[in-house]
């Protein structure tokens, strides 16, 4: 792995609500290397988006707070507790973000050109004219035909796929080192999804930027990711390379996710759903948080589970391959041989 760009250690982002403390993110650690694509996978409500917003320092405070002991460092610079101006200088410049819902993530009262131009003028100090030229160039780069004419259009005249491209163009305007993409394809048609993913992969290659991709779609993961982080109930339950996760899933949750996908290898197989829902974040179970839904539930699950290397010691030896399930300690790793 190349140089570490973003390093998150024991991140705990808690929401202090009237009903109690919702531990939306409860001890997540991960690393993103330069030029790498890391996928954050999990179902709704497991803390993916909160993790990404924590990185940008965009959690609404109150009610959310990043707890003491958490650390987020970007190129060696600590972001937790950093003053707002220095975070602001980072946002849009070094770290950019694109959102799930392209229909509402552009400002309806400005033209597309004005919105991209605003980012360019602010962060790169271009004047109006240069910003317009550069905006058209960016639109061309994200694959929008006839960019000069499109600059004067308002967002509501564009399709979802087009708007997502515009969002990507805005996020790219300042040549970020890290792009956080929060379910960028969820709201799009399947055909458009593939195009956007291809565009992201292509841009990553060309610009050498790292991507933190948040998704619940394992199909997307297989397509574009280098490494995968499976999240469940505010914790990382399994991490590994794309190959390791798909070929040798260790955590019952990961296995469940994979079995809920249709497969070309076994046509006609019934898809398995994981029964139940994620437990309430105000009141996580003390033991394994997946226990209630786990098909392999057994004595031993009621104890708190630590992250460890499959078949290895209690503590994770390699940061890039770990599982949070006591069972997998015993089974030797198949992909290591």
């Amino acid at each position: 792995m190349s140089d570490v760009l973003l390093s998150v250690k024991d991140l705990r982002s808690w929401f202090f609500t009237d009903q109690g403390v919702a531990k939306a993110v409860d001890g997540v650690s991960c690393e993103v290397g330069e030029g790498e694509t890391l996928c954050l996978v999990g179902e709704s409500g497991c803390g993916k988006t909160v993790t990404s917003l924590s990185v940008l320092g965009l959690l609404p405070d109150p009610p959310a707070r990043i707890m003491n002991g958490s650390s987020i460092s970007f190129r060696g610079e600590e972001l937790v507790g950093a003053p707002e101006p220095s975070l602001r200088a980072l946002r849009g410049n070094e770290i950019s973000m694109i959102f799930q819902e392209p229909m509402t993530s552009l400002n309806p009262v400005y033209t597309v050109g004005e919105q991209i131009g605003e980012a360019l003028r602010l962060h790169r100090g271009l004047d109006r004219k240069a910003a317009r030229v550069e905006s058209a160039q960016l639109l061309r780069e994200v694959g929008i035909p006839d960019p000069e004419a499109r600059l004067d259009e308002y967002p509501h005249r564009m399709s979802g796929g087009m708007r997502q491209r515009v969002m990507i163009a805005m996020a790219l305007s300042c040549e970020p080192r890290l792009l956080i993409a929060d379910e960028p394809t969820t709201a799009l048609d399947v055909t458009i999804q593939a195009q956007i993913l291809e565009l992201l992969a292509d841009l990553r290659e060309r610009r050498g930027m790292a991507v933190l991709l948040i998704t619940h779609d394992l199909g997307v993961v297989a397509e574009v990711c280098d490494r995968v982080l499976i999240m469940y109930a505010g914790q990382v339950v399994e991490t590994g390379s794309v190959h390791e996760i798909f070929a040798d899933p260790r955590h019952p949750y990961t296995k469940g996710l994979l079995e809920s996908l249709p497969s070309l290898a076994q046509p006609g197989r019934r898809l398995k759903a994981i029964p139940g829902t994620v437990p309430d974040s105000i009141d996580w179970p003390i033991g394994c948080r997946f226990e209630q839904r786990c098909p392999l539930r057994a004595p031993g699950c009621e104890r708190p589970q630590g992250l460890h290397e499959p078949g290895g010691a209690e503590r994770a030896v390699r940061a890039d391959r770990a599982v949070r399930c006591w069972r997998s300690m015993a089974e030797p790793s198949r992909t290591d041989q």
Partner: protein, 379 residues
């Protein structure tokens, strides 16, 4: 090719026509609304310029408000000319182009379909145009007394009669329009600016700032406004400037509440999150991203607010704490005519009608704007 040439020739003749009579080419093209307005403004102003050329000439070396009126007259004529000429020249090229249509253009389209609202808008614009050139069209000095001609009924010399001091009622109603419209516009301008800024800041920042600002709003609202106004006006020397300031500084809480509510829902929208993720400063997000999106209801409230402010000012003047004599004001005219209502009904009736029509047109425009700017109603 021939069609192109034809189009260009039509454009040429239309723009020549627009130099003779602005608005006429638009009328001929079937756009009777804008064309009619431009044409009647131009004809009306030109008529004033010709028919009352002696007054215009005298006003050129008169007081500053007379010179302002002459300036407005000339500016109105030139503006009608220029607009019509430019309109005929650009319409031709733009018609086919796929120009970007924003929220505002959509709202304009929805508004122009609403006949009563457009009628209200024409009345409002007409009132402001009249107010601008009042000194040039009034038959008499509104403060000139002519005691032998007291309480005269309507006649050719005094179309709306005279009051107890022999002053011309028509002139006084016209000058009163000036005062009322100015007070309404400036006071609402002040209050909307304050209300929008404070409401947006409160809604966006939330927390302590929000609580402080909104408790301040509650405090200002809970003050009995009329009594506050009477005390302030009684303590200081009442002048139009003071009334505008007092009204402007007490009317903003309503706007602040509206804007805060809008901002609270807007700030959860993803484009605001996106703006934050792009590292924009708070002031930029509030001023450039939140306020323009919250402006619809503000414009509606402001339009309705002008009407209310005019009524409020009339009430103050009626009570004698508003605009002071001899400056004509609708409210004080109403109050002056009260004692002789049965003998000289024209004294109170015409300023009363003026108030009703003015406020009615502002309310018509406000309702039309509400329908046009609210996407839920527009569908």
């Amino acid at each position: 090719m021939t069609e192109l040439a034809g189009g260009r020739a039509r454009g040429g003749s239309a723009s020549r026509l627009s130099l003779v009579l602005p608005g006429l080419p638009q009328l001929l093209a079937g756009r009777w609304g804008v064309g009619g307005v431009a044409l009647s403004v131009w004809i009306g102003f030109a008529w004033v310029l010709v028919a009352r050329h002696d007054v215009v000439r005298r006003s050129l070396s008169g007081a500053w408000d007379e010179r302002l009126a002459v300036g407005s007259l000339v500016a109105g004529l030139l503006a009608a000319w220029y607009w019509s000429w430019r309109d005929t020249n650009t319409k031709m090229e733009c018609a086919g182009a796929r120009a970007g249509v924003g929220q505002w253009e959509l709202a304009v389209r929805a508004f122009s379909k609403n006949k009563t609202a457009v009628a209200g808008l024409i009345l409002v614009v007409g009132l402001y145009l009249l107010a601008l050139i009042t000194p040039l069209i009034t038959p008499d000095d509104p403060t000139a007394q002519d005691l032998p001609l007291r309480l005269q009924a309507m006649s050719a010399a005094h179309r709306l009669g005279t009051d107890q001091l022999g002053r011309d009622v028509l002139s006084r109603v016209l000058y009163g329009a000036r005062i009322s419209l100015t007070i309404g516009f400036v006071a609402v301008g002040i209050s909307v600016t304050i209300g929008t800024l404070l409401g947006a800041v409160a809604g966006y920042l939330g927390g302590m700032v929000d609580s402080l600002i909104m408790r301040f709003v509650d405090m200002v609202i809970s003050f009995p406004r009329l009594i506050l106004l009477i005390v302030i006006v009684a303590a200081f020397d009442p002048s139009i400037f003071l009334i505008i300031t007092v009204l402007g500084l007490t009317l903003w809480p309503g706007t602040a509440r509206i804007v805060r509510g809008e901002v609270l829902s807007l700030k959860r929208r993803e484009f605001i999150q996106a703006a934050e993720a792009l590292g924009y400063s708070r002031s930029r997000i509030v001023l450039r991203h939140l306020i323009p999106n919250a402006l619809g209801p503000v414009i509606v409230a402001a339009t309705l607010g002008i009407g209310n402010t005019i009524v409020l000012e009339a009430g103050l003047s009626f009570l004698g704490v508003g605009v002071q004599a001899p400056t004509p004001s609708w409210g004080s005219m109403l109050s002056d005519g009260r004692d002789v209502l049965l003998d000289a009904w024209w004294l109170s009736t015409f300023p009363g009608l003026a108030i009703v029509f003015t406020v009615l047109s502002f309310n018509l425009v406000g309702d039309g704007l509400r329908d046009a700017l609210d996407p839920r109603v527009r569908s």
